[in-house]
């Protein structure tokens, strides 16, 4: 028996060696071929690769990505700048009645549910989005920082906990949204059951269904978007915290630095480039919020039977995109350009602030 095992091992070692030899020889043959081709090209002065400058070669290699990006990103962006100045653009007949510089912007800005809260809804897309951005992003970034610092200091079952906190990232957003909607159900929802358990009267206390007040459904939405975005942030922060040299912590320990000061004075500054990156990307991401609202409240963006709307800017833009009415596509373009401007300004502000606060 022992002999058999020994022989099998020997056999597999042999197989492994011959496979490695095979690939080694293949590489030799290929390299040889390459050298021959190169020699031939050099001889007949045909070697264009060496004649092109480096950047030209780089452009050739980048061209597949550039082509796709131009078709699906750059061209639409240019087009939306064009669309904004069209008056009554009809998509099917491809006709316009004239040009306007600010007409479409004015239509959007004065529209009842974009910036100005509509009289019959009491909410607007921009206000909704700003609330979501300015509440959910700071909370989720801070929370992710604390959780990753705590996770980093856990010793037993470390990877188990890290997996748990990363699970939401690999789960479908819509599915989590449906679970949330179910948890916040008025009758028999988990949250209401918990609340009644601690003695709160939950009869008719609705969160995402008819009768829910604006702030209650907003709370659920913010709670949901924080939770859904937490996993990725924790992962980024945790890896950067683990990359910090242990000696800084040993030095701090010898200097009797309290835990809180170690966190604020060493951990946070040392991972500040990552915090900045997360901050910028999640502000942009939060401004583009769309599917979490759909997951919780459906495409209307509102619980049934309420007088407000939880529409985000992107949802507002989206309703014009079908282009069935003349000029609606231009309105959508104007809305997206406004969103673009808001994000641009905010990112520039963040970059300015980061110059002082971020240590590379």
């Amino acid at each position: 028996m022992a002999d058999f095992i020994k022989n099998t091992k020997k056999f597999f070692a042999k197989v492994k060696q011959s496979i490695k030899n095979f690939f080694w020889n293949i590489r030799r043959i290929l390299n040889n071929g390459k050298r021959r081709i190169g020699k031939f090209l050099d001889k007949h002065n045909l070697n264009f690769a060496s004649k092109f400058p480096g950047w030209a070669k780089a452009l050739v290699y980048l061209s597949p990505a550039l082509i796709v990006l131009s078709i699906f990103t750059f061209w639409p962006i240019i087009n939306s700048f064009a669309l904004v100045v069209y008056e009554n653009y009809n998509m099917t007949s491809n006709t316009i009645t004239g040009y306007t510089l600010f007409g479409n912007f004015i239509t959007v800005i004065t529209d009842e549910s974009f910036i100005v809260p509509a009289s019959h809804t009491g909410s607007s897309a921009v206000i909704n989005t700003l609330i979501i951005v300015f509440i959910s992003v700071p909370i989720s970034v801070l929370l992710a920082l604390f959780i990753s610092a705590a996770l980093n200091s856990i010793k037993p079952l470390k990877s188990f906990f890290q997996t748990i906190f990363f699970l939401p990232y690999v789960t479908n957003t819509i599915a989590i949204g449906l679970v949330f909607a179910y948890m916040f159900k008025t009758d028999g929802g988990l949250i209401n059951q918990l609340l009644s358990f601690v003695g709160v009267d939950t009869a008719g206390l609705s969160w995402v269904e008819s009768g829910a007040v604006y702030w209650r459904s907003m709370f659920v939405l913010i709670f949901y978007s924080i939770w859904a975005s937490l996993a990725f942030k924790i992962m980024v922060f945790l890896t950067s915290i683990q990359g910090i040299d242990k000696q800084y912590y040993q030095a701090a320990a010898i200097d009797a630095t309290p835990k809180g000061r170690i966190f604020t004075k060493i951990t946070v500054p040392l991972i500040s480039p990552m915090i900045f990156y997360i901050l910028v990307t999640s502000v942009i991401g939060a401004f583009k919020i769309y599917n979490s609202i759909v997951a919780l409240f459906g495409v209307t963006g509102a619980p049934s039977g309420v007088d407000y709307n939880l529409q985000s800017i992107v949802m507002y833009i989206y309703q014009f995109i079908d282009g069935s009415n003349a000029g609606s596509l231009s309105v959508a373009a104007a809305g997206s350009l406004i969103l673009f401007a808001i994000i641009l300004v905010l990112t520039l502000v963040q970059m300015q602030v980061s110059k002082k606060r971020v240590h590379y």
């Binding site: 040993q250 030095a251 320990a253 010898i254 200097d255 309290p258 000061r261 500054p269």
Partner: protein, 352 residues
């Protein structure tokens, strides 16, 4: 403040349960205000010893005393030590000023006094003009000084230096060596200095401990350790060029070399390891005649290679006494500069 290690032991256990003894029953008393070099080849447990004194490693056994206080179980922050790390561990996002101020922010020090102390310390180590810079804008030697200032600013009871010069280039190393010695003298702080470089340890230390595999080999002042090594390990570890060692027999009280009587020694007959330092040989008119195998003239000195009992021996003699192409030379060596070691234990047998 006196620092005392009693039976200090550290055993590392890896995942499979195999044990490695990093430090074994170390018994050392470090007098107040002295600079002690902890010397040994890499992996001999010197950094582990230092980290145990700092409190960053927990000893498996034994005790550590600062003066009369038993600090063995004390957390590092409560021990009142300053530690300079091998790569300095300066906080990269803080200026030099903030780096030095950082330890004081955690202590109960009035702000004006703290600032005063930072400035004093910066001037002491010679970086008074660099307080606004970030560590990345400093040279290695300057970073080193900042690290020392940061360790000293809280007026620690003990200063610990973990291979502080190993990241510097050769010239800067010499300069910083003297600088550390000066700072230590001026502050009068008890200092432990870990290094694997015997020359560095010899030049800087008041006393040195030589460790090998976690076992103390000798604890003495550098010069006496050099002249009177306790065993063959210490003799081999100190000195550059290294000591010559070879096998030789003592017959009837005479050390036999190349089948001739070399010198009389009061040791029992038998086979021994013999050590002779290259620079202790003298070329004279009379003396032990040897056949020169090779000569290297290196400026002031001349290195001669020859055979003793089949081993290649090097002697460093004055260039004036040797001529080019010389085939034979007469060498002498003082009997107290000949070290005879027991073959089994490696202990020296002809020195007190």
């Amino acid at each position: 403040m006196e620092l005392r290690l009693e039976n200090l032991t550290k055993i590392f256990t890896n995942k499979t349960g195999a044990e490695t003894t990093a430090v074994s029953e170390l018994d050392i008393v470090i007098e107040s205000g002295t600079l002690v070099g902890l010397l040994g080849p890499s992996g001999c447990g010197k950094s582990t010893t230092l980290f145990m004194i700092a409190g960053l490693e927990k000893p498996t056994g034994g005790k550590i005393f600062f003066g009369d206080d038993d600090v063995t179980k004390l957390a590092p922050e409560k021990r009142g030590i300053g530690l300079v790390f091998q790569n300095y561990a300066l906080y990269p996002h803080m200026t030099v000023y903030n780096n030095i101020l950082f330890p004081l922010e955690n202590l109960d020090v009035p702000r004006t006094e703290a600032i005063q102390r930072v400035k004093e310390m910066a001037n002491l180590v010679g970086i008074g003009e660099l307080l606004d810079r970030k560590p990345s804008q400093l040279s290695g030697g300057q970073q080193q000084r900042v690290a020392i200032a940061r360790a000293l600013v809280k007026k620690p009871r003990v200063l610990l230096l973990d291979e502080p010069l190993s990241n510097l280039d050769a010239r800067l190393r010499l300069q910083m060596r003297e600088e550390i010695k000066r700072i230590q003298r001026e502050t009068g702080i008890t200092t432990i200095f870990v290094t694997h470089d015997q020359e560095e340890a010899m030049s800087i230390s008041d006393k040195m401990v030589v460790l090998d595999f976690g076992i103390e080999q000798q604890y003495a002042s550098p010069q006496s350790m050099y002249n009177n090594p306790d065993n063959i390990f210490v003799a081999k570890f100190l000195g550059n060029p290294p000591i010559n060692t070879f096998e030789a027999e003592v017959k009837k009280g005479h050390l036999m070399i190349n089948e001739h009587k070399f010198m009389k020694f009061d040791v029992p007959d038998g086979l021994y390891d013999v050590g002779m330092r290259p620079e202790n040989f003298r070329a004279t008119e009379e003396g032990f005649k040897i056949a020169i195998k090779d000569i290297f003239h290196i400026g002031r000195d001349t290195m001669i290679h020859f055979d003793f009992n089949g081993s290649n021996i090097r002697a460093l003699v004055d260039s004036d006494n040797i001529e080019k192409g010389q085939k034979f030379v007469h060498l002498t060596i003082k009997s107290e500069r000949v070290y005879i070691f027991d073959k089994k234990t490696g202990e020296v047998v002809n020195h007190g």
